[in-house]
Symmetry: C2
Subunit: 238 residues, 2 copies
DNA sequence: GCAAAAGTGTTGTGTATACACCCATGG
DNA sequence: CCATGGGTGTATACACAACACTTTTGC
């Protein structure tokens, strides 16, 4: 541990101090589900893939920086963002603090992504910087865990959807099959859904009823802080 | 949102850039249980209480900065630390990124804390900076939630302890009574404990058997990332 | 009428809860 | 012998997993 004088220690404890401190950047793991696959957005730069990132200015919060990444690169596609974790690592010399976010986007809105960003299978994203690799792995872990006890999955679907579509999202994210009857019972017992009254005919079979998420259950409900200094965790959508 | 030229945007995306970015500080919510109360450590500075904090140098990781706070102010008392969340807030002008940690200490080792640090009831910590208040509230939420599904509570007790002591920790942290028989069944079903063979006589009643945590179950097991760049989440202890 | 997905119930199994008494010791 | 905390078992409710057939439609 480095040795400091009493004055230096005091200046480090009483904010703000003016000595140099680690740099900050923000990175986003943006998920979507399309064609039966869980995809993440990566930038193809220097023959190596990397998470979309941004160095926040002195004038924006962490959440705002994450929102900016999503807005600039994906327009209104992202419907949900949540802070994941902060890592510190040596990036070219000094320590950098990387604050990471998990975000969810609608497949419909992700057809054309500007710039060098492309979609890759979340389970096999290819060659990745080790830090980015860990972030992606942890984002996947968290997404899967949250699927079980929050309403997070609805952000991967349009406002109205069939129960089979919802089940397909669960199966793709969790990477395993789910029993149809148990799934429907569990979802309906949670009381988050209501029928829209409409139904969808899309083949030579019985039409499916459409459901929507009941308002006031739109946000997640568990184990995420309610910081009044950064109230907006929802990005787009109503 | 601020307007940037294409060059400025590029420099923000390609790390490291040299423009000014938010400052970073680290704060720790250190819990202990003593005299049937859940306590947190606060500094009594400027007639206002504040969380122990530190501005990390260019030469230390976030985890190392948290460890340093604990080591300098509490010696070897802290036995566990875990990153909580990162907040950004306007501290005297520009944005500051505050990375927060939850830590647990042994009551026995916390008798004399150097400097201006003192212990306060975690539920009624008194007047606190709004940011610190939110951090404390969230730390409490997380500690209570983790108590239910991890072995985190053992870090509030010495290496060997009675089941009644363990139950008392749960009751104090969760702030509710727990059924003795169900508690013991649940704990033993988890398979984390083993009897030491010794017992403790401390009154005119039957002696209590002493238990210890089985090694390899010492760390928490769920929903916390395994960053290889910051492997040490355990601070002191064996 | 047939292919294809939508929709629906029951049964068993394990898990959490509520609850009351005997045991070992010190004084 | 009595006061004190240590230690134990059972009955019930609830949540979850396994499992197969009928319904509605397009062609």
């Amino acid at each position: 541990m480095e040795q400091l004088t009493a004055e230096e220690q005091k200046s480090r404890r009483d904010l703000p101090s003016l000595n140099s401190a680690p740099r900050v950047d923000v990175r986003v793991v943006l998920f979507t589900v399309r064609d039966g696959q869980l995809l993440i957005a990566l930038q193809d730069q220097n023959s190596c893939r990397a998470l979309p990132r941004w160095v926040p200015s002195l004038d924006e919060s962490l959440d705002a920086a994450a929102t900016r990444i999503l807005a600039e690169q994906f327009g209104g596609a992202a419907r949900y963002q949540e802070q994941l974790y902060s890592v510190s690592h040596r990036g070219e010399g000094n320590w950098t603090v990387t604050v990471t976010y998990l975000a969810l986007a609608l497949a419909e809105a992700t057809g054309a992504t500007p710039g060098s960003t492309a979609w890759f299978n979340a389970n096999t994203p290819g060659e990745l910087d080790p830090v980015d690799r860990m972030i992606v792995d942890y984002a996947l872990l968290r997404l899967r865990a949250k699927l079980e006890y929050t309403a997070i999955a609805f952000h991967l679907l349009p406002p109205s959807f069939t129960l089979s579509e919802l089940q397909a999202v669960y199966e793709v994210v969790l990477d395993r099959e789910v029993d149809k009857r148990n799934f429907r019972r569990r979802i309906q017992a949670a009381g988050l859904l209501e029928v829209t009254g409409e139904s969808r005919r899309e083949g030579s079979h019985r039409p499916a009823r459409l459901y929507r998420l009941r308002t006031a259950h739109d946000a997640e409900t568990y184990l995420t802080p309610a910081w009044t200094t950064q109230p907006a965790r929802k990005v787009a959508g109503q």
